[in-house]
Amino acid sequence: MIGTIAMRELRALFLSPLAWTILAVVQLILAFLFLGRVELVQISQSQLLAIENAPGTTAIVLPDLLGNAAIILLLVTPLLTMRLVSEERRNRTLSLLFSAPVSMTEIILGKYVGIMLFLLLLLALIALMPLSLLLGGGLDAGLLVSGLLGLALLLAGFAAVGLFLSTMTQHPPVAAVGAFGALLLFWVLDWSGQGVAGGGVLAALSMFNHYKPFLDGVFDSADAAYHLLLVTTFLALSILRLDAERLGG
């Protein structure tokens, strides 16, 4: 049942020009940044050779690429998630799901899986860029896998927050702005808290702090747990929100 809803969600994305545009734009911008980074490696190759223990190509190109990708996707994911529930509510198609023998949990998980499949496709396209370096040399596979895993977990969090905001309203733009605001807040949470009592807590909640280690090739299970916890929390909130719509009013 989750699969049925997920596949419809994915199909709906690809039937609108939005998904294609997003894939194209994200790919174009990241390719531009990626090329710039590769060029830097090429220019400074002689200097790098002179340094002892110089960072490898992967270490120069990948963290930068994935760091930029995270920021761009923070802007883009709310645009993908905004329609999930709000548009169904607006078009009054939610009652199709509500009167079918499907639980709220299945509805939310189906929609979440659908959007995650799309985001993983986007991730695969991004991964093609560093993988193309294999044509001319070696790659640090550990760093690549760790970085991609980090980005995947980050996107899972983005999508869960976006889905929750989409259950809150019937206007997709409102859901997009709300999700964008929430994600940005999670991102910058540690900026203001530095040096203040309680700043440590804020820093621990910040998404960025739990993403950066992955880019450096450090897999900390606490970081992974943070992302999974974030996803679970917002999915649970989404289910409660949909349920409340039926009960309250």
Binding site: M1, T4, I5, R8, R11, A12, L15, S16, N91, R92, T93, L94, S95, L96, L97, F98, S99, A100, P101, V102, S103, R246, L247, G249
Partner: protein, 317 residues
């Protein structure tokens, strides 16, 4: 009226803040029965439909669909019902076939049976040629049919249709009504509407809801009694004086209407039609129109609700 009980609605109430949209409504529907749910706008029709279809939880009361409680065992209960809301829940970007396949999957039809179910539903709703068209490009009438097809694709025992003929042209309305009658043979159908002829044409039982309360729950024959009009509309080329008409046995009151027609009220048991025709030809009044006064739902409704009020007042005193 002898079929198995498909749905039991027990004392449901639903409040929006202070406002009671539905108050203590109970009824049952059996297999092979078409139940017409009448009421003016804002009477609580749609709220009741939403509660029975599981889109809205009642504040109090229970809904049993095919023996399953809608709140405690929603999956089994919802599998036994098909629901067409006021605006059909259609995905405009899908084709009719894709959409119906999705609905079949949502209703947990086994994969092998989906194609047959889809074709059967399309056949019933007159959609056989529309399978590959985009729903967004279909006319309103066809979209409505897709909505009905969606509600019956899993052959649920209970079909709930909320104003299914709104916005359709007369031919489409006839077709949808024929479809509803067809459905009523095997399924139980709850039909919400504010169009009286629709109810008279397709329903076996009529319920009227007013301000969230059921004020009438009767068979169609019972409603006809309520509607038995005690008036005639007549038009003459050379109208006689009102007092002449008022002297005809049975006539109690003569009222001129703005367009020149006359409205005659008469005793319920004594229809003066024949007498009027006889006198008209005898005196050359030039009778060119005579028909029973039309009673609109509004009038039946006003009559019913005021009678309820009067009865309540009588009971209280």
């Amino acid at each position: 009226m002898s079929g198995a009980i498909l749905a039991e609605i027990k004392n449901i109430s639903r409040y929006y803040g202070e406002i009671a949209a539905v108050r203590d409504v109970s009824f049952t529907i059996r297999q092979g029965e078409v139940l017409g749910f009448l009421g003016p706008n804002g009477a609580g029709k749609t709220t009741t439909m939403q509660i029975i279809s599981g889109n809205l939880a009642p504040n109090t009361g229970r809904v049993l669909i095919a023996g399953h409680d809608l709140l405690e065992d929603p999956r089994a209960a919802k599998a036994a019902l098909g629901y067409l809301p006021e605006s059909p829940p259609l995905y405009r970007e899908l084709t009719v076939d894709e959409y119906l396949d999705y609905c079949a999957a949502l209703n947990r039809l086994p994969r092998a049976g989906r194609r047959a179910a889809r074709e059967a539903a399309k056949e019933k709703c007159g959609l056989h040629d529309a399978g590959r068209r985009l729903i967004g490009n279909l006319s309103k009438g066809f979209q409505q049919r897709v909505g009905v097809a969606q509600a019956i694709i899993h052959m649920p025992p209970l079909v709930i249709l909320d104003e299914p003929t709104v916005g359709l042209d007369p031919i489409q309305i006839r077709e949808i009504r024929a479809l509803i009658r067809e459905l009523g043979k095997e399924h139980g159908v709850i039909l919400s509407t504010h169009i009286l002829p629709e109810v008279q044409e397709v329903c076996d039982t009529v319920q009227i809801i007013h301000r969230g309360e059921l004020v009438l729950n009767e068979s169609i024959a019972g409603l006809a009694r309520h509607m038995k009009s005690a008036s005639l509309t007549v038009a003459f080329h050379h109208p006689p004086g009102h007092e002449v008409l008022a002297r005809i046995p049975g006539v109690t009151e003569v009222r001129a209407e703005r367009d020149g027609r006359l409205h005659l009220f008469h005793d319920a048991g004594r229809d003066p039609t024949e007498e009027i025709i006889r006198l008209a030809s005898q005196h050359g009044w030039g009778l060119h129109e005579i028909r029973p006064g039309r009673v609109s739902l509004e009038q039946v409704f006003v009559e019913l609700t005021s009678r309820e009020g009067a009865a309540a007042a009588a009971a209280a005193s």
